[in-house]
């Protein structure tokens, strides 16, 4: 298995499946958002509290490739890496079915950080990441 900066184990919830009997596409975006926010929490930050301090991370682009649909009862790993591109933080996110680690979906999510309504250079995350011992 590839190395990831952060990994979260999750399970399909039945209300996330649609009439095709598989997880609705938009829910993978929810899975990936939740994973980024849990990653934030692993660094001691919380998305809601950031918002209360007028610091907001906004998604500027999502690009998700759907490979293998997840079904009711499936467990999966939601995995994340990140890289800086100019002012953007880009998250590379894989959803891997458990236990066979088949790739269910692969996302590339671009985000920007806005403080007090102004676009920043994304230094907020640089500071946060220093708290993380294993991000080399």
């Amino acid at each position: 298995m590839k190395e990831y900066l952060f990994t979260l184990e999750m399970k399909v919830r039945d209300y996330e499946c649609d009439l095709q009997g598989v997880v609705n596409n938009a829910n993978y975006q929810h899975y990936m958002e939740h994973t980024r926010h849990e990653f934030l929490e692993s660094l001691g930050e919380n998305f809601g509290r950031m918002h209360d301090r007028n610091v907001d991370a906004f998604v500027s682009r999502v690009d998700i490739r759907y490979k293998t649909p997840l079904h009711s009862g499936d467990h999966f790993l939601s995995c994340l890496n990140m890289a800086k591109e100019g002012p953007k933080w880009v998250f590379l996110q894989d959803i891997l079915r458990i236990p066979d680690l088949v790739l269910a979906a692969r996302g590339r999510i671009e985000t920007v950080v806005v403080e007090n309504g102004k676009l920043t250079r994304g230094d907020y995350f640089d500071e946060l990441l220093k708290r993380q011992p294993n991000t080399e």
Copy 2:
């Protein structure tokens, strides 16, 4: 057809259906919430702007009876009446399938109005309703 204070025509969206092929139960609660908020807008108010002014309507109880499931492609009327019970505003909400007006779901939703963090006697809605010409 019964008389209602407010009626909104809506249509099932396929992502609202779950693996049983019918609208997931929680989505009826969304339909009813959206109908209350559209009713607000018909009175010249907006839920988001209310929140920005520190006036929040909170749901304290929902009681929904599910009668006939809605399917992909179904149109429906989302209908509303309201009554005051002490400090609570109680919404009586019917979801009627179009065109046969079969009752899909019937809800009784209790709400309270909180201003600046304090429970009110619900006068906020009394004032709003005066703007409505046909609420006798």
Copy 3:
């Protein structure tokens, strides 16, 4: 703490919060549904597979009292008891915030079991429950 037949630890996901900054009411219904389905899985059954065999549990009524809103970052226990009332299985479900076990929401959810399109007397769950050692 009260005794429950089944308990699941969960955490608020930020996309479940609405513009009021708290978990949207309909999502508690999702939490409770997921908890019932996880309870099913603890008995060796799966909701999607049941549907594939033409056995469907349908919710006929939900009655949820909202007591204390959950926020971004909150953990909670989703707890369940069940009782038979005629052909109905009634689930009594509490959502308790962690760690203070404050009651966030309390639900009473009535369900019926339909096999091959016909309402049953609910024996399906009687059989399932025999698999559970601690349901006296």
Copy 4:
């Protein structure tokens, strides 16, 4: 305004907004899905009925750029064009805020058609589109 093959007027529902006070990113994917399905219906087809006949359109990739967030109370046009690329049907979808037609989001959604579990060359849509008078 650009020409589109199909346009649907919609309105933000408050439960689609998250704690940042704007429509949650995943909901734009829902808007775009619903628009594609309504386009299908305009051609006399229904997504749920297709599934019942073992014909499923699956999304293989979504690429959405978020330009201007939508808020509570906003109306918008959800617009669609489509093009064939090999076996894929690619939908180009714009979300335009009403009345100023500011671009809220732009999506490129790749889909494939699977019949009886087998990937097809997408002829299903070619046939459907012949029903549409204005698709030169």
